[in-house]
Symmetry: C2
Subunit: 362 residues, 2 copies
C-alpha cells in the first residue's frame, strides 16, 4: 500500500506531475532543451519574485548550498543556524576549507536581526548563510527584519538563503528582500520528486565569485551562470531532463493557483495543524516564528513515535519523527506543496483516532 | 515529432523504463528506500563485476568524477586525456586546487600503457584518471594493458576510471582489471534518463580518502560510503527516487540479457556502423582502439553537418555533430544501451539515402 506523505520532503506528488517524468528524452544540447530551460527560468523568476539569473542543478539542494559558500566567501562566512540544516551548512564550509563560524540559536528559536547585526558589526564576514525555514524544528526565520539590517548596514555582504523547504509555499519575494542567492529544491513546496536544485543569483554575487579561487566546477555558480547567459540557457553537463519536464509543467500549475493564493493555503493549513497540536499535544517551537510548511509537535501522547508511525502506516500515512536531538521527543507534520485542507483535516482526524486507540491499549 | 536519439547520451529510453520514473514517492529515510538502494547496489555489483562498495549520486557523472580527484589525490594527480572529457577532468582538478598534470594523446589516439608507465615512473603521482571511452573521438582505451602496468609496478597508485559512456555496453570487469574507482552514469549504456551517477569504490581508496583534507561534502566518497555501510544503504541527502526506481527495474532487464550478450550486441552494432562509415565516409580514429558504443565519422560527404542533421531530424532521427575541435569535421553515431541491430540498420539506410538526396541537390 502506498503511504501518503506528510513528511517534510519528499512530498506527495500528483500523478499528472509524475507522468511528466516519463516523457521521452531529447538531446540536451538542442534548441528544444534550451527552450525548456528558458521557460523554466522565466516561470521561476515569477514564482520567486526576482529578476536575478536562475540556475538549475541536478542534485539535491545541498549541492547548491555547498557551492554557494565556496563561491561567495572571500574572507569568512557567518553561518546562522537554527537546527540540523544550518549545521549542515557549516559542515559544508569546513569540508571545503571555507573559513567560517557558526552562530546557533537555541532549538525552536529563530535567528534574530539583532544576532546578525552583532555578528556582522565585527567586520569579519563577507558572506552569511540563513536557513529560511528549518524543518527540524518547524521554525521560519524573520527574513525581512534580518535583511532590513543587512541591506542598511552591511550592503557589501553576500546573503545566501536556504529556502529549500519554503519556496513556493511561504512568502519569499527575493528581490524585495534583497537576497543575493536564494536556493530551493524540487521535492518540497514545489510538489515535485527530489533530484533537482534551483537557485536565483544576483549579478553582483556572480561578479564577486569570479574573483574567488577554489570554487569547484559542478556547483560553480560562475560556470552555471555562464551556460545560462552565454550559451544561452544550457547546462554545463547533462541535466535531469525528466525533472525539467515535470518542473516546467508544475510551474504552470503553481502560477495558475497564484503565489499569494498558494501562500494563503499554506498559512491556513499551518493554522489547522497548530490548533490540532495545541489541543492534542503541544507545538514545539517559538509561537512567533512558526513555519507555514511544517509543524514540529512535542509528543505528549505517551505513545512512542515508532508505535504511532506503525499504526499510521497501516492506515496509509507517513508522518515524520523528530530530527536529530528532537528524535522521539517530537514528531513532524508537513503541510506543503499540493496538499489540500481536506487532506490535512482527514489526516488529523485519523491521527487523533489512532492516538486514542493506542492510548486505550496502554 | 519525437526524434529517436542516436547521440552519445542521453540515449533513447524504452517506455517501460520511463514509466518507472512516474512512480509515487516514498520517504527517503524509510526501510523501503534502504531496500531499494541495497537491491540496486547488489545488481550493479554484478553488472560491474565488482565486490567494491557502490555509491549513487544524484548528479551527472561529472559530479563523481570531480569528487574522485578531490578524494583520492594526496600528492599529485596524473590526468590522461584522449579528448574533451579527459580535459574536463583536468579542469575539475584546477577548479578545486588539486595538484595535477595532464597528459594528452593526439585526437583519435588512445592512452597507451607505455605513456602511463613513463609518467608514473617519475614517482610524482599517487592518483591517475583514465577515460575508458571518449565520446568526442569514439576511442576506447586499452584499459587491461594500462592496468597490468599499474598493478605490477605502481600498486599504491589509486586509479579512477571514467566509464560513463561504456559501462554496461563495453566489457569492463572492475575487480579483474583492478579499478579502484569506476564511475558511470545512467544516460548512456545503462539506457536510463540522465540524472544519476554511479561509482564503485575500493576499501583501500576510501581508507586513503579519510587521510585527505578538503574533500568537499556532496561528492565526498567517505560520506557516501558511510551512508551505505553504517546506516545502511542510505543516501546523505535526498536522492532522486525516480531514477532509483528506473535503475532498479532496468538492471533486472540488463542482467536478464546478460553482460556478455550485451557486450556482444554492442560489438556487433559497432562493426556495422564502422563498415558503413568506411564505405560512405571514413572512421575518424585509430582503428585498433575503436569504441564499441559510439563511432566518430569523418564527414567526407560534402554536406555540412547542419544540413544533414536537419534532414535527418525531419525523418525522426537525432545524430550528433563532432565535439570541440572536431565539430563540423566529424559526426557521431551512438550505438548503445537498448538500441537494436535492426534499428541501427534502419538508421544507416535512411542516413545513406539522406546523404544521396542532399548530394543530388548540390
Amino acid at each position: 500500500m502506498h503511504k501518503r506523505l506528510y513528511i517534510p520532503g519528499p512530498v506527495e506528488v500528483r500523478q499528472d506531475v509524475l507522468d511528466q517524468m516519463a516523457k521521452p528524452m531529447i538531446g540536451h544540447r538542442t534548441k528544444d532543451a534550451s527552450a525548456l530551460q528558458q521557460g523554466i527560468s522565466e516561470k521561476l523568476q515569477k514564482v520567486m519574485g526576482t529578476k536575478n539569473t536562475i540556475v538549475l542543478s541536478t542534485s539535491s539542494g545541498s549541492g547548491l548550498m555547498e557551492g554557494a559558500v565556496r563561491c561567495f566567501t572571500k574572507n569568512r562566512c557567518a553561518v546562522f543556524s537554527i537546527g540540523a540544516f544550518g549545521k549542515r551548512w557549516y559542515k559544508m564550509c569546513t569540508a571545503n576549507g571555507v573559513p567560517a563560524d557558526i552562530f546557533e540559536s537555541e532549538l525552536g528559536q529563530p535567528t534574530t536581526s539583532e544576532m546578525v547585526d552583532e555578528v556582522l558589526s565585527t567586520g569579519k564576514y563577507d558572506c552569511i548563510t540563513i536557513t529560511h525555514n528549518e524543518t527540524s524544528t518547524g521554525v521560519h526565520n524573520p527574513i525581512k527584519a534580518i535583511m532590513d539590517v543587512v541591506k542598511a548596514k552591511y550592503p557589501d555582504v553576500i546573503t545566501c538563503v536556504d529556502t529549500v523547504s519554503s519556496m513556493a509555499g511561504d512568502y519569499i519575494p527575493v528581490d524585495e528582500l534583497g537576497l543575493d542567492v536564494c536556493i530551493t529544491s524540487t521535492q518540497k513546496c514545489l510538489g515535485l520528486p527530489p533530484g533537482m536544485a534551483i537557485a536565483s543569483v544576483s549579478d553582483r554575487a556572480v561578479e564577486k565569485a569570479k574573483t574567488i579561487e577554489n570554487r569547484g566546477l559542478y556547483f560553480d555558480y560562475v560556470e552555471l551562470v555562464k551556460f545560462v547567459k552565454e550559451k544561452p540557457f544550457q547546462y554545463p553537463s547533462t541535466p535531469s531532463l525528466s525533472h525539467m519536464y515535470a518542473l516546467d509543467y508544475q510551474l504552470d500549475r503553481i502560477l495558475e493557483e497564484g503565489i499569494e493564493n498558494r501562500y494563503k493555503r499554506h498559512c491556513e493549513m499551518a493554522e489547522v495543524v497548530r490548533d490540532w497540536a495545541r489541543k492534542n499535544c503541544a507545538v514545539y517551537s517559538n509561537p512567533d516564528h512558526l513555519s507555514v510548511t511544517v509543524t514540529c509537535i512535542t509528543n505528549t501522547t505517551g505513545i512512542p513515535f515508532s508505535e504511532l508511525n506503525k499504526a499510521m502506516g497501516e492506515k496509509g500515512y507517513l508522518i515524520s519523527n523528530g530530527y536529530g536531538d528532537l528524535k522521539d521527543k517530537t514528531f513532524r507534520i508537513a503541510h506543503m506543496a499540493d496538499t489540500t485542507m481536506d487532506e490535512i483535516k482527514t489526516l488529523l482526524k485519523d491521527l487523533e483516532e489512532t492516538i486514542a486507540e493506542l492510548q486505550s491499549k496502554q
